[in-house]
Symmetry: C2
Subunit: 225 residues, 2 copies
DNA sequence: GCAAAAGTGTTTGGGATACACCCATGC
DNA sequence: GCATGGGTGTATCCCAAACACTTTTGC
């Protein structure tokens, strides 16, 4: 394909913000950059998106290649987040980044080195590009969705305890919730059901295991009259 | 700037969904295409975005040039909507469209011909590209924001009646609301105040005029415990 | 006085909030 | 028996929902 002569497009890149819970902490996947710019700094996995492929297709390729994570099979949820386009964000030239936020469980970056990690979002080091802002925005998006969707399914294993569920909410939202009210409210939403199984661990009462009724996004109605 | 050889980026385009109320109806700005592809069909205003400018800057230029609307001064609100990127959406080649949704009042496309119009969103003709879907998505976004922000300010004149406000909600959301409940709820939110003035028109009781306290976006808290 | 839109109140039910103790288990 | 996390109930308050008539004006 040819461009009409005076038109020079910006580079199109894609970036993935992949969240996962580890030890009741929200973590995000970052890779240490091996090349300039920002060599040696942590950055979100991503790369160029070429003509003829959707940005999601490009993302799947890049994340597989750079972080060894297969977005098609290893995550439970993904959505487009935002397109970041400030002119100075990439020192090599103007690059527009179409970012996606994803959530999963038990994701293991398959890489020999220690340069690809899930790091806690609340104590990230300085990141390359504008990736710190992008992650903050992604977290906000997910925190919001917790309030009116069943998106928590994407951060939890198939079967989970109510304490785990609450810990997930607290980790993403960044604040504590009341145990009794949380359980009462959540159970009334009819998004989950008891499995009948229990989880025993340590010297205390075992916990009932629950599962989501639906592993696709469901929305809870909001009201205005 | 040079691309490393094998990389051919998609075209980057921008599109504007500009909403305005006309006769208590939600309308959107469309322009009749003068060139192929889709010559003669209605389409959203927009165009190419070049390297070295933000997509918003590109959008302002294109919308000014193609529709005679100055986004910097003639609208009350604008936000990035979504990036549409399916490979087949532009028959000339792969074009990624970064779309923005905007709201305003008394916007007048300055064009001699009749080829640029605000058309009611509920009875749009067939549109070029995937623009029908984009508009539906934009409307959903605004309808959602009406529920938990003061974004209605952007669709109403400085001073307005409660009936006008309710009509705006109804037009965007596509359903009727109860007058008493709407007023009670809205007044309790402390987003607007009476101006003391009234609006008289026709053979009936004059209406009190209100104004928003704030003409920037304010968010109403949502709860989960 | 009548047509047309503005404006107004009450009841009911359900959900939000706040708050503290007993239960089951392993050691 | 004690330490640890799992699990539960009630009272209050406010908001959502449903619903119909009076007021002010122009003609």
């Amino acid at each position: 394909m040819q461009y009409s002569s005076p038109y020079q497009p910006p580079i199109v890149t894609v970036d993935a913000i992949i969240f996962q819970m580890l030890n009741d902490t929200l973590t995000v996947l970052v890779a240490k950059r091996t090349d300039e710019p920002f060599k040696g700094q942590w950055a979100l996995p991503g790369g160029y998106s070429a003509a003829g492929q959707t940005t999601m297709e490009a993302l799947v390729q890049k994340v597989k290649a750079k972080a060894g994570v297969d977005l098609d099979n290893e995550i439970n949820y993904i959505e487009q987040l935002y397109t970041f386009d400030t002119v100075g964000r990439d020192p090599r030239g103007h690059a527009v980044s179409i970012s996606y936020v994803a959530c999963g469980v038990d994701i293991e970056p398959t890489d020999g080195s220690h340069e690809i990690k899930f790091l806690p979002v609340d104590s990230l080091p300085h990141l390359a590009y504008d990736h710190s802002e992008i992650i903050a925005y992604a977290r906000e998006r997910i925190a919001n969705k917790l309030l009116f969707t069943n998106i928590a399914f994407s951060l939890l294993p198939e079967k989970f305890t109510l304490t785990q569920l609450q810990a997930t909410y607290e980790a993403v939202m960044g604040r504590d919730l009341d145990k009794r009210n949380f359980r009462k409210k959540f159970l009334s939403l009819n998004l989950i059901h008891e499995t009948g199984e229990t989880w025993r661990e340590g010297a205390h009462r075992p916990a009932a295991l629950y599962a989501f009724n639906n592993k696709g996004i469901e929305t809870i109605a909001r009201n205005f009259d």
